[in-house]
Symmetry: C2
Subunit: 584 residues, 2 copies
């Protein structure tokens, strides 16, 4: 039995965000975005109020799907169709609250093995239907939705039944895992044998291995374990050209890497059924330490120096001053975090350390391994932090962060209920561009808030460090009616932030994929020739555009607000300069 998140929001039915035990939050939000969150929230939408279009499913296709996956695994049930219609972007959440469901899939299929996936794809291609693979449904880039104008039957292929760890090779530290395995189930199966994958995206509780691969996901401990692109050593993918099977070799020079072509492919090349992934022994010791830095600039400098040092921490995370203040505002009564900002601590920071508390930045740095290793790494990091005026505040806040890290997405639904739009946008750039990008994006966001006439809030943290740069993760919010019309304002802000990334040498997304949400910046990011490489690949493998059409390379209207800016139609093979034309 495959379970899903709330059809209208994030996570489990039984879980929601509550401000009641966080006394500082309501005043904080009132001050910064002028919203009173103590009112009774708007109710989530009622399923009975939705208008569900009848499915378009020709009988021969239905029969073929039943043949492929079994009758009990093929459904046209209305709620199943709605659950599979979109992901959990802010745009999705606003639309569903306004009963705008877009182009629902006509049928949901749950294949039980690779052969069934193959048969489903064959049936789909034979019927000229559209196929959209579905993992956990957490995507926030519009990767799961059918084009609004799609007239062919749309099949959502839910991989949820493919949820097993098939084999662990202890010598090679590799595990063969089915693509539909959800984070917790996957870690549980590995932990039973003393292993971990070490991949913990914010969406961990509800996202799948196949989804991580299809979107080039990163996790909170990727500094140590690597992004999913590095963790994934081999893939099995059902494509129109047959089942792609790569070998789990550690490195190879077999032309352009086909494994890499699957990473980030968002279903446009086929359906991922299995991957061979690197696994690690559960570490002996695991510590996340909290640090304070006097300023954001000092903190960024320290992170850069840590990346260039012989220390190799598991987690490097630092919040800007705004996010630090927000963190304090969400502390619970009597929690460890509250002691952090006790009067005594504040006095020490102000008087002895000469901190301006409004500029102070909270950081978490994680360490894993043997006690000797952890000790040595802590010492290296501690020296760098101290040189930049930072201080260690112990394991308390880190433990709290660690326990609560997967709860953040629930806040968006809470705020929507209260009448506020809140969303995220992340990028990566080189260490030298990090400061200018940060300032440029904040300035652009504030200008956009003014443009749409709201009091907006933007905050940021550095979430991953690499040799040459880092990921910056922005969160923004403002009070707004939660209507379809209000999406225009959201687009103004979100676009300003994305444009800031592009202007300051950043990428359109560090780990949330392109989907349709970010497609309009693709040519700016990887250059028009880069888009041509992608188009050549997609159109060569899927000339009928049956596989999740319109994603990555834009060209089809999927969701309101994206139509005008979706850029040129994806180029077919004949638009690549033929022999004889000028290469510019």
């Amino acid at each position: 039995m495959v379970t899903h998140m709330k059809w209208w929001g994030w996570g489990k039915e039984s879980v929601s965000f509550s401000p009641s035990d966080k006394p500082d939050l309501a005043p904080f939000i009132r001050t910064h975005i002028g919203l009173d969150i103590t009112r009774l929230p708007a109710q989530p939408p009622a399923f009975a109020d939705l208008t569900i279009a009848d499915p378009v499913l020709p009988e021969p296709l239905r029969a073929a799907l039943v043949d492929a996956a079994g009758a009990e695994h093929v459904t046209t049930d209305a709620q199943a169709r709605v659950v599979h219609a979109y992901g959990k972007s802010l745009r999705d959440l606003v639309r569903v609250r306004n009963h705008d469901l877009g182009r629902l899939p006509d049928v949901v299929v749950y294949p039980g093995d690779e052969e069934a996936v193959r048969a489903v794809l064959a049936a789909a291609l034979a019927a000229d239907a559209v196929v959209i693979p579905f993992g956990g449904g957490t995507n926030i880039s519009g990767s799961l939705e059918a084009p609004r104008t799609e007239t062919r039957p749309v099949i959502s292929v839910d991989l949820g039944r493919l949820d097993r760890v098939l084999e662990i090779d202890a010598d090679a530290r590799l595990a063969r895992v089915q693509a539909g395995a959800l984070g917790p189930g996957l870690e549980e199966q590995l932990a039973a044998q003393g292993w971990t994958l070490g991949h913990f995206p914010d969406s961990f509780a509800h996202s799948t291995l196949g989804g991580w691969i299809a979107t080039r996901s990163s996790g909170m401990q990727s500094d140590k374990y690597g992004d999913i692109a590095e963790i994934t050593r081999a893939v099995r993918v059902v494509t129109p050209a047959g089942v792609l099977v790569t070998r789990p070799v550690p490195s190879q020079s077999t032309g352009p890497s086909v494994r890499e072509m699957i990473l980030g492919s968002e279903g446009r090349l086929g359906i991922i059924t299995e991957a061979t992934v690197q696994v690690h022994r559960v570490p002996e010791q695991r510590v996340i330490l909290g640090y304070f830095f006097p300023t954001w600039d000092a903190a960024l400098l320290a992170m850069r120096e840590i990346a260039a040092s012989e220390a190799a921490p598991t987690v490097t995370r630092v919040s800007d001053a705004n996010e630090t203040r927000f963190s304090f505002a969400t502390r619970k009564r009597g929690s460890l975090a509250s002691s952090l900002v006790s009067a005594g601590m504040k006095q020490y920071l102000r008087r002895v350390r000469r901190y301006d508390l409004d500029q102070m930045c909270l950081s978490f740095i994680g360490f894993e391994g043997s006690p000797a290793h952890v000790k040595a790494q802590r010492k290296l990091v501690g020296a760098i932090v101290a040189r930049r005026g930072g201080i260690c505040v112990g394991t308390g806040p880190g433990q709290l962060y660690d326990q609560k890290k997967f709860d953040t997405p629930y806040i968006r639904d809470f705020l929507l209920g209260q009448g506020a739009m809140a969303d995220v946008s992340e990028t990566s750039t080189s260490w030298s561009q990090l400061g200018p990008l940060y300032r440029g994006v904040v300035a652009r966001a504030n200008k956009a808030f003014a443009e749409i006439g709201v009091t907006g809030w933007i905050m940021c943290h550095l979430s991953h460090s690499y040799h040459s740069g880092a990921c910056l993760y922005f969160t923004f919010a403002y009070a707004s009616p939660v209507t379809l019309e209000a999406i225009d304002g959201y687009d103004t802000v979100k676009s300003a932030i994305q444009q800031g990334f592009i202007e300051h040498a950043g990428t359109l997304s560090h780990h949330h994929a392109v989907g349709v949400e970010h497609a309009r910046w693709l040519a700016d990011d990887i250059s028009p020739a880069g888009v041509r490489l992608l188009t050549a690949l997609f159109d060569g493998i899927d000339p009928g555009r049956n596989l999740n059409p319109g994603k990555i390379v834009p060209g089809v209207d999927v969701a309101p607000g994206l139509a005008d800016s979706a850029g040129p139609d994806s180029a077919g093979p004949d638009s690549v300069s033929p022999a004889g034309s000028d290469p510019r």
Copy 2:
């Protein structure tokens, strides 16, 4: 002025391999392959004896190339055409000694900047000519040669004038470097500012950054610095679809990585003009230690344990018993290495450590960084080595290895002069498959030696370690006439080894690229669907197959001995299953 290697062999005119100061080598070779290397060698071929076909170069194309690159940078000189006709594979060396030059390029162009490269490609496409990029010419997979049956004009584009480090971003630890920079010049320019790239393939002295990227190269210190795929953070490539420009961001989720599509593309997508690469501060300390292990199995186990430990050495290398004995046989009179195997040492190993000296394996492990870091890493590695019965023999042999590491390719020319074929083949596989693959390949090679009626020699070393596996690098030799007919025998042996890789979960090449030499195993390695992905990409971007045709995906007869086994013709876009067909 761009200089080149010997037109008929490896390296500088003034350098060659000599056995005269290595007293044990001649007896060793006599014993193991029955060859007397004390005879006067055959002379290398004389250029005057070659028959050079006239170039096919329509005047409008010549004029356009002159416009693009300048008259003094466009040549149809016979020796320039021969130098650019092939790489330095054993097949190439045997053929040139027999005056078989294949399909020479008609013209060699040396563009001086990216705009000139763009103009050259435009002229070539306008004239329906073939374009083959040329870096240092060290390729051993046939990647540089035009198809023998090519009737269109063939242009070799030598990137040698694009040899500068353009910019170093010290904060981001990134350097912008032109693609034609040779290893030594590149390291010199970086060292002048205190930096290193840390990429040292065997070919280092004569190969270029662009060549490394086009073939997914690895270097001797890649355990620390990463393979070129990791080092290369951004590329600029002149393609038929325009100039591809990617951003030097540390990680991104912009769909399938176009940067990765260029890595290993062997000129099939365009001409690489520039890359942004990770650079590192020259380490404070650098040590390569020698170790002995009692057996190959014990050594492999130790390497696996080191990879799984908290140690992160720069180099992990271990020779099997055969290669260890060969190393001893090449020691110089009175050298450090000779003291290693002094009578006293032998006695100690035999009597105290109970080594069977015929099974003993020599290993080098490198460490870099601060003295404290090096000390800690040595200690971790030392404990693992000791647990597997190994002993440390100090820095002497490592220093010698370090000094001599780039000289190995000269031996092939020496042996050809003496009447022996010697070549290499490398793969990678998971730690659990390493032992079976090694035994399988050695058995297959020995069977092949018997089949062609020679006394052959095969030896191996592990050259790179990763999380989940390692690279095994095989070298083989046997006495043979150096004739075109004798290439059949060589093919039998080389194919047996490659087939052994494929049978035992290895890849067709870890870092020597596909070219035409390995193309027949591509579908076995990445599956037929993987080949379809590559074909879709190549044919979509280069529908006229003007860009280095026949490489990676086979289909064109390039060199003798490959014609029969070259596999199916590369599939055009129309052979990808259209909508409606069965996906198998």
